[in-house]
């Protein structure tokens, strides 16, 4: 049987659909997750048509299938509905709450930082917060400084929050289903610029383990750890360097908090060299976190400096050429890799 190929965004839609089908307690809440609430001509025989189905269209059709009781359009009031999602999660529902762009976290941080992430701990283990926060990060679509940030690292700094960043349709579906199954607060962060990317996705229900990185490509000379869209940059670099006889191992982190130390350390111990690619701004991000752990726990195995390739320490610029220069790409990684590869060729 030929594997079915669907897009990254369709994989996510399908996973939400399956989770809602499977468990009545799963609800979806957010601004315009359906759209068109109370618009007469969008209601026919008690079935709802959506006006948006999410601004990116990822929840299209869900309100038709599950109704407005479970696909809840909210006022533009992120703090309010995120905090409602936490309250609902603590009392028996399993919400998926959508933050339209991760940049809007400035309006919804407390329900995550101080409530959802800490209730279980503060209450001595007596609360469960089965909440999946779906959000969208990343530059590349000309959306400028307030709609293009990469903030999963900020979420990842908070104890009590798990953060998942899928790089391909298969993982997106499996990680989303795993996230919804978990009794924890999980931020599921999607790179909007790869929504159209297609890949093989089984039709059935399956999960991908949260907390486990995947070795996308094996190699022996240099490890590139990458996150989300950056995995494809890593693969492009790997392909290029392979021609020069350098063998690259690509590790897709998949879960950025808590990330899979074991897989990363194992890879670096084998290759002795590490580059981490992260589209986040360069400080206090996942890349630096990975680098610091490796610099501690695999130091004796290192044959060269640890390199990180991130966005510069600036907001995301609007102009097309500047935005392109802002995002890490294969050229930038190759440039940074030179120092390591140079060492390599000397050996």
């Amino acid at each position: 049987m030929a594997e079915r190929k669907i897009s990254f965004m369709n994989a996510i839609t399908e996973s939400m659909d399956m989770a809602m089908e499977k468990d009545d307690r799963v609800i979806l809440i957010g601004t315009d997750v359906a759209g068109g609430a109370e618009v007469d001509h969008l209601i026919q025989d008690d079935v709802y048509e959506d006006a948006f189905g999410g601004v990116f269209g990822l929840s299209k059709g869900l309100v038709g299938k599950y109704g407005r009781e479970r696909v809840i359009d909210t006022p533009i009031a992120e703090h309010g509905y995120f905090s409602a999602a936490v309250g609902a999660a603590a009392t028996g529902l399993r919400p998926i709450s959508e933050l339209m762009f991760n940049d809007f976290i400035g309006f919804a941080l407390d329900p995550i930082l101080n409530q959802g992430a800490k209730m279980r701990y503060m209450f001595g283990g007596k609360a469960k917060i089965p909440l999946t926060v779906r959000t969208v990060h990343g530059a590349g679509v000309g959306a400028a400084a307030q709609h293009s940030q990469t903030l999963y690292g900020m979420f990842g700094s908070i104890p009590g929050v798990k953060v998942v960043v899928p790089s391909n349709p298969y993982d997106a579906k499996g990680l989303m289903l795993a996230a919804i199954e978990e009794d924890n607060l999980i931020v599921f962060s999607e790179d909007k610029s790869i929504y159209g990317m297609k890949g093989e996705v089984p039709e059935e229900y399956y999960t991908v383990e949260i907390g486990k990185a995947s070795v996308t490509k094996e190699g022996k000379d240099l490890t590139i750890v990458a996150i989300g869209k950056m995995v494809h940059v890593a693969l492009e670099v790997a392909e290029g360097l392979e021609k020069d006889g350098v063998s690259i191992e690509v590790v897709d982190l998949r879960t950025v908090a808590p990330w899979d130390e074991e897989t990363v350390l194992e890879s670096v111990k084998k290759t002795g060299r590490l580059i981490v690619i992260d589209e986040a701004n360069p400080h206090n991000n996942t890349a630096t976190d990975v680098a610091s752990v490796v610099a501690d726990k695999a130091f004796d195995y290192l044959d060269g400096p640890i390199k990180t390739v991130c966005a510069p320490d600036t907001p995301v610029p609007f102009a097309a050429n500047l935005e392109k220069a802002y995002i890490p790409d294969a050229n930038k990684v190759l440039k940074v890799a030179e120092e390591l590869i140079f060492d390599l060729k000397k050996e």
């Binding site: 307690r25 909210t74 409602a84 309250g87 409530q115 209450f123």
Partner: protein, 315 residues
């Protein structure tokens, strides 16, 4: 009011007051880390509301949460141990005064974040509605919290979704050292309800019966699917914002300053024949004893195991 209810209320009022007096005493002795916000003086609100609730109803509370927790039926020994940071505390000593909680009792937690409860309560009400339960959620909040944007978002959301939630404002006239009349552009909190198309009632928060009745109506409305109600209870706190506060902002002529809701209720209850004097006396001494026992319990409870530091981050 039924005798049973009056007895329960009087008991809980006394438990709260004695609890707070003891907390004050042992805080003064340095036995409680951090800071404590006492509920003394506001007992009519917690008990008046909670007399209408069941274990399966939910509440969200505030930094001034001991009274809510006691009235909602949280274990008093466990509360005292929690406040002292002991192993037998409701949260294993990991939360303390500002995070006393017991989800099984419908107590979703005291909250160190002012205005943190509006959405949480709306969310609990969303669970009730979605799961088809015949319950309500109550959000306690202060006058100061009414100026947080979360008030606006929580009330609006609850209203448009017709959620079974009741927003109970404890207007004790101050947020820390800032008078409500300065901080709020509206004269009352209740009048803001109209902006959310819900009833807003202002009651004498030193009068349990008034609180009790307003809550009854609000619950009826909520359970009939008509959505939320905002109840503002006019009250006063006996002590400072936290223990140690000089209270320079308080005035001789602050309304409610010289009232005590417990004394008032005792008078009314005896007068109306709900409780006899003897019953009242014995409730008082029983409550005092309950709290003394709680202190004794908490004092001998050990500190939590150091390994618990790493536990309960994730389920």
């Amino acid at each position: 009011m039924e005798k049973k209810t009056a007895l329960w209320i009087y008991q809980k009022m006394n438990e709260i007051r004695f609890f707070e007096e003891q907390v004050r005493r042992i805080f003064g002795k340095g036995l409680i880390p951090g800071f404590v916000h006492l509920y003394a003086g506001e007992e009519a609100v917690a008990t008046g509301v909670m007399a209408q609730l069941e274990d399966s109803d939910y509440i969200t509370s505030t930094h001034r949460g001991h009274g809510h927790a006691i009235a909602k039926g949280c274990d008093i020994n466990g509360m005292m141990a929690e406040i002292m940071g002991k192993k037998d505390g409701l949260g294993g000593g990991k939360g303390g005064s500002m995070h006393v909680a017991d989800i099984d009792k419908g107590m979703l937690g005291a909250n160190g974040i002012v205005g943190g409860g509006f959405g949480l309560a709306a969310g609990a009400a969303l669970s009730i509605k979605t799961l088809g339960n015949d319950n309500v959620a109550v959000c306690f909040f202060g006058d100061g919290a009414s100026n947080e944007g979360t008030f606006h978002e929580g009330l609006n959301l609850a209203s448009i979704l017709d959620l079974p939630v009741i927003f109970v404002c404890e207007n004790n006239q101050f947020g820390e050292g800032t008078p409500f009349r300065y901080a709020s552009a509206s004269e009352t909190v209740a009048e803001r309800a109209s902006a959310y198309n819900m009833p807003g009632v202002r009651v004498d928060g030193m009068d349990v019966e008034a609180v009790y009745k307003a809550t009854e109506e609000a619950i009826e409305r909520a359970k009939a699917g008509k959505g939320p109600t905002l109840i503002e209870c006019d009250t006063y706190r006996q002590y400072g914002h936290f223990e140690g506060d000089e209270q320079k902002y308080k005035s001789e002529d602050d309304p409610n300053r010289d009232r005590d809701p417990i004394i008032e209720f005792r008078g009314k209850a005896v007068e109306n024949g709900w409780i006899t004097k003897e019953e009242a006396d014995s409730i008082e001494s029983a409550a005092e004893k309950t709290i003394e026992d709680a202190v004794a319990f908490a004092e001998v409870s050990p500190l939590p195991d150091e390994s618990s530091l790493y536990k309960d981050v994730f389920a």
